[in-house]
């Protein structure tokens, strides 16, 4: 269980939070093509390295925030409140 730094509640066990996945941009649903939409739904870069991802502090302040996490080492940096 890694430690995730919540901007409000401080460093917490990841079990206190919920990972909400990599930060991705959402295409305009009114104008995008179906294939663009499916790219958004299912395709993730998922690199072995640094990703920016969203976490939800479900056991604490109930805020969503982003961190940068190295998926290979679980090193964490660059925390930011949403």
């Amino acid at each position: 269980m890694i430690i995730v730094p919540c901007p409000n509640c401080g460093p917490r066990n990841s079990g206190d939070l919920r990972p909400a996945g990599e930060v991705i941009s959402r295409p305009d649903p009114a104008t995008c093509s179906l294939s663009e939409w499916r790219e958004y739904l299912y395709m993730r870069p998922n690199p072995a390295g640094w990703v920016t991802e969203t976490w939800y502090c479900r056991g604490g302040c109930r805020r969503y925030f982003t961190i940068e996490r190295n998926t290979a080492t679980n090193e964490i940096r660059g925390q930011e409140a949403s």
């Binding site: 269980m1 430690i3 401080g10 460093p11 649903p29 995008c32 739904l41 969503y64």
Partner: protein, 950 residues
């Protein structure tokens, strides 16, 4: 016969306290302080069990926690490690893995058919023919190791868990570990010192007077230090990311075992060294023991390990064993000095060693062989931190290569030294650990916005200036010129490993999986290095080129009870649950909630709702209070339908789909005021929908003025349903006109019910009857519930449970998300066509919704009735193509309807079967194929909704 020696200077047994126990039915006595194994050995027993595959006789090998031959059944507990578990009075101890008895073991004939059980036999035999697998399984179970579990009669009580946050966790309570703990604690760090055995001291415990005195001095200092908590008889079983450390505590006062979950700033690994067996023919014969075993038996437990011993020694431990054996009165037949090239070739003997063949050609007569051929550095915990240890041929063992900054190693795992040198290295390591962990603690507090800034200064960073421990030269003694056992717990010999290499499994990781070497309960502590050396020889390469297997958690196997621990998941109860239970309700566990399933007769409860009036507690319904000017924008985003024009005082049904177009939730949402709404969700979706709303509001639309408050438990929800519901409520409601004109269907009013203010009443109809859902502030819920029942006696008012509600809603054809839909059901399947609005600028899953409504191949949810109305198909029964097995759909809900007197269903069917009147075939669980007809409506009863609109 007894092997108990006169009092030894360092013995840990208390001769004034005798403990009686039984061993395979025979009465024996031991002393307080004995391990189970030392007590049995003191009674003259040589053979403790049979080996796993070949069922060879086995005796004491290491006389500690790792002894592969000392897994015993104690009462109803299997696999007790008799080499470390302390004896208790009344224990009923028996052998495992024998059939039918220890002396006459039928499976020992496996030795004769050994070639069928060699490397990879799991993969080569018992494979074909496949239909014999159940038989193989039965036979193999008889031969398999492990004791018996008795869960019906288990008396173990509750296992437990604990969370702890030390600055420094020290794994290992020898001189280095205790030194590290003391230095870290002196520097202000909080320390958790974890020792595998029941006493601190490590290898000093069976050492000389000075070593034992030092151990006692350090242990007393640790016990007395305010910053140190000592856990003995506890094992650090795993290290995970960010120093999340699992400790299996066996010494707890009330729980049989406890899993301690520690988050440590720095972990200091001071695991010491584990003595390796030597590989030669007959090395698993009872009487062949390690030097450490001899010393522990004599010095700690005053047990004489034999009468005539041959000692092979390559180090001080072996030399010390010679002295101890002499003092214990064991005749030393020969001392073979491995440093001079002397070694054992083979031993002979069945129940006990009788002859020893030496490499100079001598054949010696002895009943005991003691070997001291070197060490395994248990680098397990270092591996788990990412380290890949490297073999040093001079010291003949592995050393850590590179460690992350939050793990430090000290003691035997880091090098050699005198007691004073080991303690000094430990102390230096403890100081470094304290520096790093206190800096981390300072950071952690500083990073927590809501806590004040630390009132203490952050220590300056200290460089690692420890003087490294020496690496003393040690001969590389792994295998003699003969083949012998490498893995005692898995019965894997060096011959098996050579064969595996020849078959192409010539990397250590492949060989491990193919032969199962190092995969037994010792987890490589005794076997890994020998296995690597045999493989190096077979491959004709250097040890250093072989590498080692990666040691993963657990360090030592952990009981399932400790992992399960105590289940601390809270159960949610509505304010009325006590009342339900006092009135005969059958509990139903629904997600986190416990609910009344029925009060005795669900069919009668349902009939009463249709005839009179019923009350049901629907509190688990998710309830979200939404406030702000932009709530309609949020609702338009998350629901498939439109919300901008809903008037104050009205409620509307809404369905949700996720971004992939799959139906995710539904419920009724009402507008209580211009900027005040109450949303309801399914019971199971309550938490997820709340989080989903927050996600959109916080990450995508922070500019929207919406505030969400979860009020699921704060409001107790009572549905008053039935033709008499209006009459009943009129008697108790103040300030709300309940007449059909003033309070029409799908409206909401706020008022006083049974004297309770701020009740929200909405008129909806899940049951299909005239009904009102009353949301009462939970503190007054019981009063309202009881008043409704009392006031409605003459109207036939009675409670109904979840089962009756399920019958009623199925009669009305209302689908349940997750029951009648699944993880693939798109909006058209659920029949949401009239609800979905595709002309919105943004709504969840909009492109998927558009796509779904262009398809004609999606399954359709339909009402279904069996031709024979007395048959109720099982939920999830398949709908098939006549007498073929092609699946064309399934029954999603089914019940016997008390109103119609026949069975009714909802089901998903292929679109080709969705037209009303289509005859379909339902395949029942018992194999019957029954006929059923697709209905025109989902509703089996009053599909126009006349009853709910009165």
């Amino acid at each position: 016969m007894t092997n108990r020696l006169p009092a030894q200077p360092g013995e840990v047994i208390d001769r004034s306290t005798s403990l009686s126990f039984t061993w395979n039915g025979k009465q024996m006595t031991g002393y307080e302080g004995d391990t189970i194994a030392s007590a049995i050995a003191a009674n003259g027993v040589d053979v403790f069990g049979r080996s796993m595959k070949y069922h060879r006789r086995r005796g004491i090998l290491t006389a500690d926690h790792w002894d592969p031959n000392l897994f015993l059944q104690v009462g109803d507990e299997p696999n007790v490690r008799a080499g470390s578990r302390k004896l208790q009075a009344g224990m009923v101890v028996s052998t495992q893995n024998v059939w039918p008895s220890l002396k006459f073991d039928l499976a020992a004939s496996n030795q004769l058919v050994g070639r069928f059980l060699s490397s990879g036999f799991y993969y080569k035999t018992f494979m074909r023919p496949q239909f014999l697998w159940p038989l193989y399984q039965k036979i193999l179970r008889k031969f398999a190791p492990g004791g018996e579990i008795h869960w019906e009669t288990s008396t173990h009580g509750a296992y437990d868990k604990r969370y702890v946050h030390p600055d420094v966790l020290v794994a290992g309570g020898g001189p280095a570990g205790m030194g590290a703990a003391l230095a870290a604690a002196d520097a202000g760090a909080s320390v958790l010192l974890v020792e595998h055995y029941t006493e601190l001291g490590g290898h000093l415990r069976w050492g000389d007077d000075a070593q034992r005195a030092k151990a006692a001095e350090l242990a007393a200092a640790c016990e007395a230090h305010a910053n140190i908590e000592v856990l003995v008889d506890s094992t650090v079983t795993g290290r995970y990311d960010h120093n999340w450390i699992a400790v299996n505590q066996r010494s707890h006062a009330t729980a049989p075992e406890r899993l301690v979950k520690a988050r440590a700033g720095v972990m200091v690994v001071a695991a010491g060294l584990i003595e390796r067996p030597y590989v030669f023919a007959g090395n698993d014969t009872p009487g062949v023991i390690l030097a450490g075993a001899a010393r522990r038996l004599i010095n700690l437990f005053s047990v004489k390990p034999g009468t005539k011993a041959v000692v092979m020694t390559a180090n001080e431990e072996g030399d010390g064993a010679v002295a101890d054996l002499e003092r214990a009165g064991v005749e030393i037949v020969a001392v073979l000095d491995a440093r001079k090239g002397e070694s054992i070739v083979a031993v002979e003997g069945r129940g006990r060693v009788s002859k020893v063949q030496v490499n100079d050609g001598r054949m010696l007569s002895a009943d005991t062989v003691v070997t001291a051929t070197g060490w395994t550095a248990p680098t397990s915990l270092l591996n788990m931190g990412g380290d890949r240890p490297v073999y040093d041929p001079v010291a003949a063992r592995y050393f850590s290569n590179s460690l992350p900054s939050n793990i430090l190693a000290t003691g035997g795992i880091a090098g050699d030294g005198s007691t004073a040198e080991l303690e000094a290295h430990g102390r230096a390591t403890g100081e470094l650990a304290a520096n790093r962990s206190l800096r981390r603690r300072h950071d952690r507090v500083s990073q927590t916005a809501r806590s004040g800034a630390p009132t203490w200064a952050k220590p300056e960073e200290v460089a690692d200036s420890r003087t490294p421990l020496a690496r003393n030269p040690h001969p590389e003694c792994y295998r003699s010129t003969t083949h012998g056992m490498v893995d005692f717990s898995e019965d894997v010999s060096s011959k098996d490993l050579v064969q595996a290499s020849k078959e192409g499994f010539d990397s250590i990781e492949l060989m491990k999986r193919y032969t199962t070497v190092t995969m037994g309960p010792s987890q490589g502590k005794l076997e890994t290095v020998n296995a690597a050396s045999v493989l190096a020889e077979a491959n004709g390469v250097e040890m250093a080129d072989i590498g080692t297997t990666v040691w993963r958690p657990p360090y030592s196997p952990i009981s399932l009870g400790a992992l399960a621990g105590r289940i601390l998941e809270p159960v949610r109860r509505s304010a009325l649950q006590d009342w339900h239970e006092a009135h005969g309700s059958t509990p139903l566990l629904a997600g986190q909630w416990v609910r009344p399933d029925q009060y005795g007769d669900a069919m009668a409860e349902a009939a009463n709702v249709r005839a009179n009036v019923g009350l049901i507690d629907v509190t688990p319904l998710g309830k979200l209070d939404l406030r702000g000017a932009d709530v309609p924008k949020l609702l338009e985003l998350v629901y498939v339908n439109k919300w901008q024009k809903l008037d104050v005082g009205r409620v509307r049904y809404g369905a949700m789909v996720a971004e992939d177009g799959v139906v995710s939730d539904d419920g009724v949402t009402g507008r209580l005021g211009e900027d005040h709404w109450l949303m309801t969700t399914t019971s199971s979706g309550a938490g997820a929908i709340w989080e989903m709303l927050e996600d959109w509001l916080q990450t995508a639309h922070p500019e929207w003025d919406v505030h969400v408050t979860a009020v699921t438990g704060g409001l107790t929800s009572i549905n008053v349903a039935g033709p008499n519901s209006r009459t009943l409520l009129e008697r108790l409601t103040e300030g709300v006109d309940l007449s059909a004109d003033a309070f029409p269907y799908f409206s909401v009013r706020t008022g006083k019910v049974a004297g309770v203010s701020d009740c929200i009443i909405w008129r909806i109809g899940f049951t299909g009857e005239l009904s009102y859902e009353v949301h009462v502030p939970s503190g007054h819920a019981l009063h309202v519930w009881e008043t409704l029942l009392e006031t409605g006696v003459d109207l036939g008012c009675a409670p109904f449970g979840v089962e009756a509600q399920r019958i009623l809603r199925l009669e009305k054809g209302h689908y349940i998300v997750g029951q009648d839909t699944d993880g693939l059901s798109k909006a058209p399947t659920a029949g949401l066509g009239g609800l979905v609005k595709l002309d919105k600028p943004d709504t969840l899953g909009l492109p998927e919704l558009k796509h779904a409504y262009g398809r004609d191949d999606l399954p359709i949810l339909v009402g279904i009735q069996t031709v024979d109305g007395s048959i109720v198909p099982e939920e999830a029964a398949q709908i098939v193509d006549g007498d073929q097995n092609t699946i064309l759909g399934r029954i999603t809900s089914s019940r016997m309807s008390p109103t119609l007197g026949r069975s009714i269903c909802l089901g998903q069917v292929d679109p080709s079967l969705s037209a009303a009147g289509t005859e379909i075939t339902v395949l029942m669980a018992d194999g019957r194929r029954i006929k059923a007809l697709v209905q025109e409506h989902h509703a089996h009863f009053d599909h126009e909704g006349a009853r709910q609109r009165v």
